[in-house]
């Protein structure tokens, strides 16, 4: 059965979608990704969709759902490289993915994840240093 590979990069998971998404594949990705986040204790997920040229409302919703599920599992999701046509389609469909963070390309997406992880760690450190505060 066809699957989208999930790569582990440090504390993040990297998914690049390079085939046409169909409904089964999207749901499979949702399953696999949630499993992997738990198994690897990932803190961030980066989904690159720069090769994705067509989306429908279902795929759009699955993307939103994946982001929401990751957040529940304490991993931040960044969607990168969305094509203009895809962005316009999603907006016209009324799916502006409010909870999903976005970046122009994988590099920026990684920076974003890194930055938010560092910020979080800093906050934890401060909290540890000053437990009363």
């Amino acid at each position: 059965m066809e699957r989208i590979p999930i790569l582990k990069m440090g504390r993040f998971l990297l998914v690049t979608i390079q085939v046409d998404m169909h409904d089964r594949l999207a749901l499979q990705l949702q399953d696999d990704l949630t499993e992997r986040i738990v198994k690897d204790g990932a803190r961030g997920v980066l989904i690159d969709i720069s090769s994705l040229e067509i989306v429908d409302s279902f795929i759009g919703r699955v993307l939103g759902n994946i982001a929401a599920m990751s957040r529940v599992l304490d991993a931040e999701t960044v969607v990168t490289g969305m094509q203009p046509a895809v962005a316009i389609t999603l907006v016209e469909l009324g799916l502006s993915l409010p909870g999903v963070r976005t970046a122009l390309n994988v590099e920026r997406g990684m920076e974003l994840l890194q930055a938010s992880l560092e910020r979080e760690e800093l906050a934890t450190l401060e909290h540890d240093a000053d437990p009363q505060g």
Partner: protein, 285 residues
């Protein structure tokens, strides 16, 4: 059927007087736009037309003006028609140029045609001039449509420039009313430029948008959402006090959109987000 020899003779015999009569006819018309065309120019055009008309009748048929003999006449009429369309003549003013030739020609026909041929000859001349008049009007219409199409195109291009403000910052100054078609163009241009320049901040300046109603706000929110999906943050700037009031009264929610009163504020914020700082290096002069 008349072969046009009589018409030929009419046009050839004392052509100068025919031109005078025709000019008088045109000048007598109350709707002649003397502010748009001078008498000399009109006379020149009329003389050119008469010469070409005579030549065409001489060389070819009087049945139809579609033949190759009439090319010169048609070209002349097209150029007059086009220049009149540009100058702002009305269609009837333009058509009257040809139709006013009827009166002098008919009066000559009445004097010179044998009574048994008068009806046929009149019919020939009349249908010929009618065809030319229709051709003129049609061409006038076409020229006007060209003007409108060009203006529309220019307006589209004028209204949607995406400018690069700084590394990673682009801006669209929107001017004029936003409708669905324009929003689409703006959105496509903006997203294309974001990809091209890898911009992380896009500023939409609406100083030039006269009114913002729910529909326009909807369009703006869509554009912002699309840019955000691509990974660029959007700032809407240039919101006039009146528009701020309208937006609130309409109940439009712009909570997730960064808004600034002026373009300067938006640029400053964009530069800060992209990690630049603005500083004065010389004292105010």
């Amino acid at each position: 059927m008349p072969d046009g020899t009589l018409l030929q003779r009419l046009l050839a015999d004392d052509a100068g007087r025919l031109l005078d009569d025709w000019m008088r006819e045109q000048l007598a018309s109350t709707s002649l736009r003397r502010d748009l065309i001078s008498e000399t120019e009109l006379r020149q055009q009329s003389a050119d037309f008469l010469a070409a008309f005579r030549e065409a009748v001489h060389r070819g048929g009087v049945q139809s003006v579609a033949g190759p003999e009439w090319t010169t006449v048609r070209d002349l009429l097209s150029s007059f028609s086009r220049s009149r369309a540009m100058q702002g003549f009305s269609p009837s003013d333009t058509a009257r140029f040809v139709f006013s030739l009827k009166a002098p020609l008919f009066s000559r026909l009445r004097e010179q045609a044998p009574p048994e041929q008068l009806g046929d000859e009149t019919w020939t001349v009349s249908s010929l001039l009618d065809q030319l008049g229709l051709y003129t009007t049609e061409f006038f219409q076409k020229s006007r449509e060209e003007v409108i199409a060009r203006q529309q195109q220019e307006l589209m291009e004028l209204s949607t420039p995406v400018v690069k403000i700084w590394e990673g910052v682009v801006a669209v100054p929107l001017i004029g009313t936003l409708d669905s078609a324009r929003t689409q163009v703006v959105m496509e241009n903006l997203l294309a430029r974001i990809v091209e320049t890898s911009a992380s901040v896009a500023i939409i300046d609406i100083t030039g948008v006269p009114t913002v109603d729910t529909l326009v706000a909807q369009h703006l929110i869509k554009t912002v959402a699309a840019a955000r999906l691509m990974g660029a943050e959007c700032i809407i700037s240039g919101i006039r006090p009146q528009i701020a009031q309208t937006i609130v009264h309409l109940g439009v929610v712009l909570e997730n959109v960064t808004t600034k009163a002026s373009l300067a504020d938006a640029i400053l914020m964009a530069l800060r987000t992209t990690g630049f700082t603005v500083a004065r290096v010389a004292p105010r002069s």
